[in-house]
């Protein structure tokens, strides 16, 4: 069931606050495991979570924190998992990159690029076999569409008449390399056309638009028994400049993993970037300021112990 708008906004802001808290502990060197933060991915994660029904499956990548937080709605079990404690979300057996939460539909998270698409096809086929009304939603990044398994799996999903939402988060970076520094551009829309797979692009971080579109695409995929590919433009926030002997004036470092030194929890829920690339800035453009401030205060209060 789709939640009221204020609840959706609160989820996005909570998602950001929880990640800020994780980043803070990361900076304090409290984790032994690698964590890939997803600052800037809060809107798409919350939107996907909002369209999920009880029987749906979510298949994630190593950058799964925003989605796991969106599905669970709380930080502590995930934080305990990151601390590898027995009372962690998965009893400390999975850590971050492979974190799942089957009770909330997160069936599989893979840290191997492209690995999860075919697993998603298998889950979708299992749904078809058992007559489930659920849909399989699989996430990948722009780097993962370079893998052969992405192409193999799209063909497989289409050939087997399987319902699935294949969501490609395009942040235009693969680790420390911009796409245009590494490869020829891939026209995902044309690729989808070749396989007769419907393609939709999302950008702008408006959660209400995202949810509406995703809800319709989900219904369409279930009805037509065909996968749908959704390319969503995201900016993974948290970049910084690093001074090195080679770059005395500082070298741009796009955020990939680990703690980001440029983001501090004391900044609170202010936008990290003053464009729609930042979900919080985007919310400020579409939501009443007084109400937004009230929600931010509620979250600060709720997180006061952690803060």
């Amino acid at each position: 069931m789709i939640e009221p708008k204020t609840a959706i906004v609160k989820e996005i802001l909570k998602n950001r606050m929880y990640q800020l808290l994780v980043n803070q502990k990361y900076k304090e060197k409290k984790f032994k495991i690698p964590i890939h933060l997803a600052l800037g991915h809060e809107t798409i994660a919350t939107s996907v979570s909002n369209i999920m029904s009880k029987n749906d499956s979510l298949i994630l990548s190593h950058r799964n924190i925003a989605y796991n937080l969106a599905r669970l709605g709380s930080l502590k079990p995930i934080l305990d998992e990151y601390f590898l404690e027995k009372n962690g979300l998965m009893k400390g057996k999975l850590g971050s990159m492979n974190l799942i939460n089957p009770n909330y539909g997160v069936i599989y998270s893979s840290s191997i690029l492209g690995n999860s698409f075919s697993v998603a096809a298998g889950i979708a086929l299992s749904y078809q076999m058992t007559g489930s009304d659920g849909i399989t939603i699989v996430l990948g990044g722009d780097g993962s569409i370079e893998e052969g398994s992405f192409h193999e799996s799209m063909l497989m999903l289409k050939s087997l008449n399987l319902s699935a939402l294949v969501i490609i988060e395009n942040n235009e970076w693969s680790m420390s390399t911009r796409i245009d520094e590494r490869r020829h551009p891939i026209n995902l829309q044309k690729f989808c056309e070749a396989y007769d797979v419907k393609y939709t692009k999302l950008e702008g971080n408006n959660p209400f638009t995202y949810i509406e579109i995703l809800k319709n695409l989900k219904e369409s995929s279930l009805k037509t028994k065909s996968p749908i590919c959704i390319e969503v433009m995201v900016t993974t926030l948290g970049d910084w400049t690093m001074e090195t002997p080679e770059f005395p004036n500082g070298k741009f470092i796009n955020y990939h993993a680990g703690p980001t030194p440029s983001v501090d929890v004391t900044q609170g829920l202010s936008p990290l970037r003053k464009t729609n690339e930042d979900p919080i800035y985007a919310l400020e453009q579409i939501f009443e300021k007084a109400e937004l401030d009230q929600i931010k205060n509620e979250i600060k209060l709720e997180c006061s112990e952690e803060l």
């Binding site: 893979s110 075919s118 497989m156």
Partner: protein
């Protein structure tokens, strides 16, 4: 009856019993049906047979996804080296499944490749290193070499919760099925089989080398001698106490190993055997890896049975 007909019949008998089962692979119900391995398969109404796309990596992922979704599946594969493309899933995806209780009993996934061990293939398409696939992530694996192990392994292991690989030998496809007179012993994991008990030698066959051991046992019998004949049907088997107990009586060991891998469990078996008993005779027949080993030549081991018999008696 030919080996392949027998194995095909066993598969047919097994798959028809199960609900919510997907059988998939390239050409599994078209053309030669993988040389007869999958000919005439029938499944229940709530199950499915899929002639799949040519995408081995993703087909491995598909099987693991089916398992996660609670649907049983068997992926039939034309040759073992195709599985090289799926190793990521054998390691990374399987590691998640077996680390989570949630998935452990959800469903069955079996990959059933044909090991192309008849030779004459050339540098490619002749990989028979089953042990490498199993050891890379400690995957349960089984080889099928005769009537007894085929019956046990297919009825017990083909469809049961979890993941495993079961291999058949292309070299044996058109050979008459080898039928041991008795099955003296099989462990509960279906990885160690004993077909005869004797006093004059202990014969242990690894990988797909049972036909050689079987032939030697017949020749010994013709000479009035008796032997204990074993197969170790899994490359990740480490409990050979039953065989070592036998060796303590015969004190004469013959090993057959036909894999091209350096990664077999023969050294571990030998080490354990020699630590437990003093042998009067030790004969190891394994593949010679010389400069011609990648040429399109026969994959059969060259064995002088008369010489082995004379050494043993």
């Amino acid at each position: 009856m030919k080996y392949i007909e027998f194995v095909n019949n066993l598969i047919k008998q097994e798959v028809i019993k199960h609900d919510n089962l997907v059988l998939f692979g390239q050409n599994i119900n078209a053309g030669s049906c993988l040389g007869g391995l999958t000919r005439g398969l029938k499944v229940k109404e709530n199950s499915k047979i899929i002639n799949s796309t040519n995408s081995e990596n993703s087909l491995c992922g598909l099987g693991f996804g089916l398992l996660m979704g609670g649907t049983h599946s068997v992926f039939f594969m034309k040759q073992l080296d195709f599985l090289l493309l799926g190793i990521d899933h054998l390691v990374n995806t399987f590691n998640i499944i077996r680390n989570m209780d949630y998935f452990k009993s959800k469903a069955s996934f079996t990959i059933m490749p044909i090991i192309v061990d008849n030779g004459y293939q050339g540098p490619q398409s002749s990989l028979n290193n089953f042990s490498d696939f199993c050891s890379i992530a400690r995957v349960s694996g089984y080889t099928i070499t005769n009537k007894s192990d085929a019956e046990k392994i297919i009825s017990s292991e083909l469809i049961k919760p979890g993941f495993r690989i079961i291999c058949v030998s292309q070299r044996l496809f058109q050979e008459e099925l080898l039928i041991p007179e008795k099955l003296e012993y099989v462990n509960k994991e279906n990885t160690v089989f004993q077909y005869s008990v004797g006093q004059d030698a202990t014969i242990v066959c690894f990988n797909l080398s049972f036909p050689y051991g079987f032939e030697l046992s017949k020749r010994l019998k013709n000479k009035g001698a008796s032997c204990s004949l074993f197969t170790i049907n899994s490359p990740v088997e480490y409990d050979w106490s039953k065989i070592i107990d036998d060796l303590k009586i015969t004190k004469k060991l013959v090993i057959f190993e036909d894999s091209k891998s350096v990664n077999t469990n023969v050294p571990a078996f030998l080490s354990d055997s020699l630590a437990s008993c003093k042998l009067d005779k030790k004969i190891i027949i394994k593949r010679k890896i010389d400069e011609s080993w990648l040429n399109p030549i026969s994959d059969a081991l060259e064995i002088n049975y008369d010489e082995i018999v004379s050494q043993l008696l």
